[in-house]
Amino acid sequence: MLDILLKKKQGGFSLDVAFQSDGAKITALFGPSGSGKTSIINMVAGLVHPDQGRVSVDGRVLFDSRTGINLPPARRRIGYVFQEGRLFPHFSVRGNLTFGMALTPAEERFVRFDEVVEVLGIGALLDRRPAKLSGGEKQRVAIGRALLASPRLLLMDEPLASLDGARKAELLPFIALLPSRFHVPILYVSHSVDEVLRLADQLVLMEQGRSVDFGSVEDVMSRPAFSTQSGGRDVTTVVVAQILRHDQENGTSHLAFPGGVIRVPLLSAPIGRHLRVRIDAGDVMLALQRPTGLSVQNIFAARVAGLRSENGLVDVTLDLGCPLHSEISMQACADLGLTVGMPLFALVKSAAISRSDIALHDPSQLAIVPSPVEEEG
């Protein structure tokens, strides 16, 4: 249980955030650069002093301006993986890994050295100096170092930001499995939709120093506030789905989701895997009758749950067992005579859902096998 309430004025910038995260494995702090994400985790770690507020982790109060509690960083037991790694250049990898471990009382250690080294695949690097590591290796060591101090919460500040695409893809599964493997919840700072879709259970949406929305990833990402934040994209819907079968012949995969079965371009993940699928509202068409003779593969019976017009467009919220957003013109809305409660059909083109709209997100994170250590780069 993570309970955070923070206020701070820094020059002309004011920070004002409040959120609780209960039972989430990974909570993402999402927002554009300069929205105050890093400041928040610095305050949680005790590296920056808030003007007022409260930080508690699992009922243990780390900071409370009213009662004057303010534990120094060294006594907070909060792990921190920095964007740039920040390894100790004068220690070997082993020295880096054991630094925090040695400072943790033996009875409070619950993360084992051998297990971390094995899971992160850094056994071959133990005697090297940080200067001799590649970017991806540095971040693995940084993650291991933070974990080995047996923290009650792990903060990660865009740990993949400095890595190229291939290294990112390689590290993502590691991060995804950390909470269940090592029993440490993560507060993850990111401005990447893909990373959030892939990793997070809950999402705090940040905007100019404020937490403007908070909830499950599916809920927050499907609300209009999110779309205005994530770079002016259309409204999107995020649904949780599971792979039913692969249709090799037609090049499609069939996914079960609360609204029925949706067909998407063929995936490589195994049957049964859980996924998150993002559907742009602009890719959802509406029809009053079930259409025939159309190329569109995904047709769902639905009901209008809400209408909201903005900038000459209408955001139609549909109910098909789960919410789905469709964005149409005002003219189209008038022609169809849409009203709340009206039954209709929603059409989603398979090809409109690209690979980047689909993210593996397994609630149990059990199916992930660590990949071998990358070559020295």
Binding site: P72, R86, F99
Partner: protein, 230 residues
């Protein structure tokens, strides 16, 4: 070849002894002052900075006279030291070490301060999140990372101490075997007739020692640099 006369050996031995003690004794204080100036903001900081740097710009004779007034047997501090601890600094090698330490102190502080300022405070923060308190962070992260500068400070201060003359002769005079270091011995030789040849020999010894100091420090700093870079 070059064989040293007993007088030369004595002056050389004394020089190294006095300079060594000057550096060793002032190092903890130098590191502390450097840290204070590099990392702390407090009222009167520029005044403290100025006082530390004063020996660099004052005539050494002024420093020597001030030491005599303060640390002489009847000086404010000197009298107390003698009465309470039984320590005398005036006219012995300890006083010579004090004079050298004071004169070389600003050089030591400047070098250490510079390297402390260059230590990435993000790495110190990382150590803190791993459970290290401020003292542990300083001794396991900050100081090792600032080692090249600390070494530079030690060498600079040592070299400056070897060449110290004005403050030493004013404070502790020119006593053979007690305060007559290389520069003072050289000065004494230039004051007597027929001293040119021995004086020249002392010049050569001074140059060789200075050169050796610089070469050794260069090799050491290279080695530390390699260690830090991995």
């Amino acid at each position: 070849m070059f064989t040293l006369t007993p007088l030369e050996v004595e002056a050389l031995r004394l020089s190294l002894w006095v300079s060594g003690w000057a550096v060793v004794a002032s190092l903890p204080c130098g590191v502390f002052c450097a840290w204070l100036l590099a990392r702390r903001q407090f009222p009167g900081k520029s005044l403290v900075d100025g006082v530390i740097h004063l020996p660099l710009v004052l005539p050494p004779v002024v420093v020597g006279y001030a030491l005599l007034v303060l640390f002489g047997r009847r000086g404010v501090i000197g009298a107390w030291l003698y009465d309470v601890l039984g320590i005398t600094l005036a006219f012995n090698w300890k006083g010579a070490a004090l004079a050298s330490a004071v004169i070389s102190f600003p050089l030591m502080v400047r070098a250490i301060r510079l390297s402390l300022e260059n230590v990435d405070q993000g790495i110190e923060a990382a150590a803190a999140t791993l459970g290290a308190g401020p003292f542990r962070v300083f001794f396991t992260v900050t100081l090792p990372l600032a080692m090249p500068g600390v070494l530079a400070g030690i060498i600079l201060a040592f070299a400056r101490s070897l060449s110290e003359f004005g403050a030493t002769i004013t404070f502790v005079s020119n006593i053979p075997g007690e305060t007559r270091t290389l520069p003072l011995a050289l000065y004494a030789l230039t004051q007597v007739p027929g001293g040119e040849a021995p004086a020249f020999r002392l010049c050569v010894i001074s140059v060789l020692i200075a050169l050796a100091t610089l070469v050794i420090s260069d090799a050491l700093s290279r080695r530390i640099d390699r260690r830090l870079r991995g």
